[in-house]
Symmetry: C2
Subunit: 320 residues, 2 copies
């Protein structure tokens, strides 16, 4: 079985680098400055509306590289397969990984497969690690966030988390909620390559927008003020959140990020984002100010200010 | 718990790159040519004589980079923890990963932790991916192996596999067999940086020496002839193999490799290897010839030639 699986992977992903077939792949770097990241994916169910564990594993690592301002190039993939996983499911996942890698413009260049006994895994776990190259001199990092920065999100939030939860709870909504999983490197590349100061980029994964903003505010020692009326949440997502008792601000996305842009560049940044398929719904959601009473403060729909706390515990386990 | 664990990792592994605390780590490359590899580790038991899943995960990825002729620099670590894993066990493993990384001269620069429910994992799975830089112009690859090459192994084989199996079977031998897990980059660095032609390097992991030689012979389209009397196997390992029904040629090692060296350089290569702590037991075990009847042929202790086949199936599951 092991050899069959490896043949399946080579068949799907095959490229001249992967085909080197040695313990490590060797290639030439594209620039001196490079980025490196890793993530393991343990999402359940493995396949969900709008994607599966494989698309998530490709897009997630592509996005982590993009958020550091790097252009993603090379990915590794490590599969941990539980005995008994259907080959059809695995093939579906592998094929969509190939499509996701092609769309994101990255190559899967090295991989590994392990099989564990039935009852010692959960169908499939995937690790992807990625290498990107940085061709510009900007410092893109939470520590660069300054009072006056505009906070822009590239679209409506909470869809990935609610797609998973609805599936798990066996709920079906009138309009099926699909995960927002998407590769963001193209959009980020447009943003960073223009004559545009970008202070920080961060995807809204584990813990959602609320946790992301809290983390950034605490590194940059600022207060981030957001306006609830500006935060885009689709109606069916808001409804599902209400029904299942979640706050969309804390729900994970897999194709959404926040950009911190100096205020005088915010209009131009919005335009660039809105011109890209994955930024059509981009909105200005808030502003950075000097640190006051709390790291993240939200003006609610009825005009009252409230503190948006860090998430405590995991609101949605195994969402990615 | 999640935050506690991440604090544990940062405490143990902390360095200026890991402390960047962004989605991906950014650094300067050391040379244009680089190597990239990944492996997941699912060994059971997690802790065994001579090492644990953590030392294996560091050394294994360090060795995969070294075998491609690269000098290992940066590692990522992804943990998949099953709920209920004792924090003491995790801490033991994390501390030995730190020691192994220090010994191998690599930095753990990015990481990820996922927790899965009890019954959906097996204590702990670890993925490590690694980046190395190649500072020389040699092509080190199975396709470079030529008739006339000497085949050298850096020490006695089969210890890792039998350490695991003895532990699993609850056997104790008079002299406890300890895993041979070791970082080989230092030794390889001595070998490659000298004025020495190195055609191929390959560690003897999954499937042991027999499978490794078969793989290389089939890529290079040669026959590899080995002499059983020259293949070093420790007496207690040979005894354990006999008792449990294994052939040491197929048993995985985690600190052993074969080097293919042009015959006129073999003596010098042996000396360099024997001068290093992880090559003290280095031995010339065979020679490459033009492809004849089979990829790998062994002259047995009683002087009879036999074909050494590729392993069929996994003789030792979850050995790494």
């Amino acid at each position: 079985m092991h050899q069959l699986i490896e043949k399946m992977f080579v068949g799907a992903f095959g490229n001249s680098l992967l085909d080197q077939g040695h313990d490590a792949v060797v290639f030439e770097g594209e620039s001196e400055k490079m980025a490196f990241t890793t993530d393991s994916y343990v999402v359940q169910p493995l396949i969900f509306p709008g994607g599966n564990i494989g698309t998530l594993a490709i897009n997630g690592t592509v996005n982590d590289l993009a958020m550091s301002g790097a252009c993603p190039h090379y990915l590794s993939v490590g599969f941990i397969i539980e005995e008994g996983l259907s080959m059809e499911t695995l093939w579906t996942i592998v094929q969509s990984m190939k499509r996701a890698a092609d769309e994101a413009g990255v190559q899967i260049v090295t991989g590994d497969t392990k099989v564990v006994d039935k009852g010692k895994g959960d169908g499939l776990f995937i690790n992807t690690s990625g290498i990107g190259f940085v061709g510009h001199s900007q410092q893109i990092h939470p520590s660069q966030v300054r009072p006056g920065d505009a906070v822009i999100v590239n679209g409506d939030i909470g869809r990935h988390g609610m797609a998973i939860m609805a599936q798990r709870e066996g709920l079906s909504f009138e309009n099926n909620i699909e995960s927002d999983t998407a590769p963001l490197a193209g959009l980020i590349n447009n943003l960073v390559s223009e004559e545009m100061d970008v202070h920080c980029l961060r995807d809204l994964t584990r813990g959602g927008m609320a946790s992301t903003l809290n983390e950034i505010a605490s590194v940059a020692r600022v207060s981030i003020h957001i306006d609830e009326r500006s935060v885009p949440v689709r109606e069916d997502v808001a409804g599902a959140c209400e029904m299942l008792g979640f706050d969309p601000l804390y729900v994970a996305c897999e194709g959404r990020f926040v950009a911190f842009i100096p205020h005088n560049h915010a209009g131009a940044a919005l335009k660039i984002m809105q011109a890209h398929p994955y930024g059509k719904g981009a909105r200005l959601v808030g502003q950075v100010k000097a640190r006051s009473s709390a790291p993240v403060i939200m003006k609610s729909k009825i005009g009252v200010e409230r503190i948006v706390d860090m998430i405590s515990g995991e609101q949605l386990p195994r969402i990615c």
